[in-house]
């Protein structure tokens, strides 16, 4: 794709890209930098730009006691289930609204939009009651359920856009070649949706990974904490917040997200380089 771009455009794009990357990364860099510094260097009249003279103390603090690994396991279970379930459910629904016409279709789509608009901040009490009556408090399943519902509307809408983007005629052609309708869909359309699945998957992952408000009321047991709850244990009202620990903990929390992205991003690029849709 880039091959076609005129030189000047490419240079401009590269310069803007690097500048944007710098702005995007700087706060992240500052977090990692602070994670290696003692507390009296993190905030001081002279900023410490590089973690020289720093050490691993903050990481030792947050990893000591082993509570990190419990929280990591819980977070991974909740987040991965959320992503898998939400993407599956949303994908099915997206195919339904995109490839079929049925009564109530438009209403369904509009309902999704409206659901998306409801402020969820105040819902936690009712959601707690619902999970309590289903005996789902302090369970991965319970938290996953509310997370799935939170990311579903967006995921359905976005995937629907992607399914729409693949012309139905491609499937028809495959059917003429002898595929069943389902086969045609799976072989022709599905691979072209990979970028959409990746984009919505990453969205769901980050939403579930960083969620705090619901998790704090649903997961009250120490061994069921998710990572954001674990991180909040370093915010101490009565002893002053240990910022070094917060930054070290945040750095650790960010790593799995990056790994997840690296694992799936190939699909996004693949869609691109293969020339994508020959519509």
């Amino acid at each position: 794709m880039a091959r076609r771009a005129p030189r000047s455009l490419r240079v401009t794009a590269n310069v803007v890209g690097l500048l944007a990357a710098l702005v995007a990364v700087f706060p992240v860099y500052w977090m990692v930098n602070s994670a290696f510094l003692p507390r009296n260097k993190i905030r001081a009249p002279e900023p410490t730009w590089l973690p020289f003279g720093g050490d691993l103390d903050n990481f030792r603090t947050v990893l000591g006691g082993g509570t990190f690994w419990d929280a990591l396991a819980t977070s991974l279970m909740v987040t991965l289930s959320t992503v898998v379930v939400a993407v599956l459910f949303a994908f099915a629904a997206a195919v339904a609204v995109s490839r079929f016409r049925f009564r109530g279709r438009t209403s369904f789509i509009l309902a999704l939009l409206v659901i998306q608009m409801i402020p969820v901040e105040g819902l936690f009490i009712s959601q707690y009651k619902m999970l309590e009556s289903a005996d789902l408090l302090n369970t991965v399943g319970g938290l996953t359920l509310v997370y799935v519902a939170t990311v579903l509307p967006f995921t359905v809408w976005t995937l629907r856009g992607f399914v729409d983007g693949v012309p139905y005629e491609l499937e028809e052609a495959a059917m003429i070649d002898g595929c069943s309708r389902t086969q045609a869909f799976l072989r022709v359309t599905f691979p072209l949706l990979a970028p959409g699945l990746v984009a919505t998957g990453v969205f769901g992952f980050i939403q579930a990974w960083n969620e705090f408000t619901l998790a704090v009321v649903v997961m009250t047991r120490e061994d069921r904490r998710t990572l954001p709850l674990w991180l909040s244990s370093f915010t101490e009202v009565n002893r002053g917040t240990d910022w070094g620990a917060i930054m070290a903990g945040s750095t650790l929390i960010a790593i799995p997200v990056v790994l997840f992205f690296l694992a799936v991003q190939g699909r996004m690029v693949a869609g691109l380089t293969s020339g994508a849709v020959k519509g």
Binding site: R39, N40, R43, L110, A134, V216, E236, R239
Partner: protein
């Protein structure tokens, strides 16, 4: 209209969605009239890292020894999100813990809502008049007490001895002297420009309240069951004017800043005096968090009042309570009794927490820090026990007031505005 019809359809869909989820909404009647079984597992919620491990172990062992067949589990919670957590968990008979720790300024919201069991009849067994009076008062509604003190956190003034010598001032013994000292310190240290004779960030109403109270003013007063803001009374305004003088002539802290991380300006050599919680000393002496070389120069004293005694300062700390929906009322009370026992409170005192009983204050030791703690705690006050106080704090009326005063605003006008805002919030 197409859109209209679609909207109607959407509404129907939404209704259909909800019809599928007709879950029960039984609130339960909340009465656990009997004291519960003789043997049970008691769940105690403690927040943050304040309670030392030694105390936790002692509590578990002693409780299980004294109540054979029962167990006690301490479930670690965090301060972050605590109110939301209590709001949900305490309303559920199956989920509620049997004993909870709660911040002393958070307690009134829950006590007036019926979330906790009445402990009035147990007060005498738990310590009676010996319990920190401000705390008991703050947890009392219509003559019934719903929570007892757990520990307090003292706040006193840290000062730099070397800077005192340089400026030729001594430890002040009245509030007027204190203000003079702060101003003189600032004048004696023109460099750096943001030097503070008394470090007083604009949002710090918790320290500011002391000046109001010392002048005879109040944040809010109750009259015939109705709460009203009292910041615009002449006494309160006089106190606020003292604060304004300190802001203008003694403080180099940001006029809209908060009081977090006081060790940073202190270690940068920008502070002559500051009023902070006692644990800040630990931060100052640690080479990783503070500045041991400056910490050597630190002295402390309790903020003096106009009358020469200690000034009334806002006291932080924690309460203990038994959730009303707990099924183990009797055992929970036994656990609380243990947590207020001399042995347990001694462990807390050894970890620099001010004990819940006045008679145990001497356990803190007799160095200048302990003296300052005991003195400050002896005349401490709490925020008004109004049902809507949490809303006042939530809407940050007082932060705005003090920050406005710090920026040089008209005190009487700002105070009247704050009162007006509080009047609509205090009564819940």
């Amino acid at each position: 209209m197409r859109i209209k019809r679609t909207l109607a359809g959407a509404a129907l869909t939404a209704l259909a969605l909800t019809a599928l989820a007709a879950c029960g909404d039984d609130e339960g009647d909340g009465s656990s009239a009997d004291g519960g079984p003789d043997k049970a597992d008691i769940r105690v919620w403690l927040n943050g890292a304040d309670t030392p491990d030694a105390a936790r172990e002692w509590l578990k062992e002693t409780f299980e020894e004294e109540n054979p067949g029962s167990t006690l589990t301490i479930e670690q919670q965090e301060w972050d999100g605590l109110v939301e957590k209590l709001t949900t968990a305490l309303s559920s008979e199956s989920e509620t813990p049997d004993v909870v720790e709660i911040g002393n300024t958070q307690a009134p919201t829950f006590t007036s809502a019926g979330a906790f069991s009445d402990l009035t009849d147990d007060l005498d067994d738990l310590g009676g008049d010996d319990l920190l009076p401000g705390f008991v008062e703050g947890a009392t509604v219509d003559g019934s007490t719903y929570a007892v003190p757990y520990y307090a956190g003292a706040k006193y003034v840290f000062y730099r001895k070397d800077l005192f010598d340089k400026a030729g001032v001594t430890v002040p013994t009245t509030l007027d002297e204190f203000v003079d000292t702060a101003v003189k310190l600032k004048q004696a240290n023109p460099d750096p420009a943001n030097f503070s004779g008394f470090w007083f960030p604009g949002q710090d109403w918790r320290n500011g309240a002391a000046f109001v109270w010392d002048a005879g003013g109040e944040l809010a007063v109750e009259d015939g069951g109705e709460w009203a803001g009292a910041l615009s009374s002449p006494e309160s305004v006089a106190g606020l004017e003292t604060a304004q003088k300190l802001f203008a002539e003694a403080s180099g802290a940001p006029k809209d800043g908060n009081e977090a991380d006081p060790q940073t300006p202190f270690c940068a050599g920008e502070v002559g005096m500051m009023s902070t919680p006692s644990w800040v000393m630990g931060l100052l002496t640690d080479p990783k968090t503070g500045c041991p070389e400056l910490a050597d120069q630190v002295g402390v004293f309790a903020l003096p009042g106009s009358d020469g005694g200690p000034a009334p300062v806002l006291l932080g700390g924690s309460d203990l309570a038994v959730p009303a929906k707990s099924g183990n009322q009797d055992l929970a009370r036994k656990a609380i009794a243990l947590m207020l026992s001399d042995e347990y409170q001694t462990i807390l005192a050894e970890n620099n927490l001010t004990p819940a009983k006045e008679s145990l204050a001497s356990l803190l030791g007799d160095d200048e820090f302990a003296q300052a703690t005991i003195e400050a705690a002896s005349n401490a006050k709490l925020t008004p026990a109004a049902p809507g106080w949490a809303t006042v704090e939530g809407s940050r009326v007082l932060e705005d007031l003090f920050s406005g005063i710090a920026q040089g605003g008209d005190v009487a006008e700002l105070a009247a505005k704050a009162d007006e805002q509080m009047n609509s919030q205090l009564n819940g």
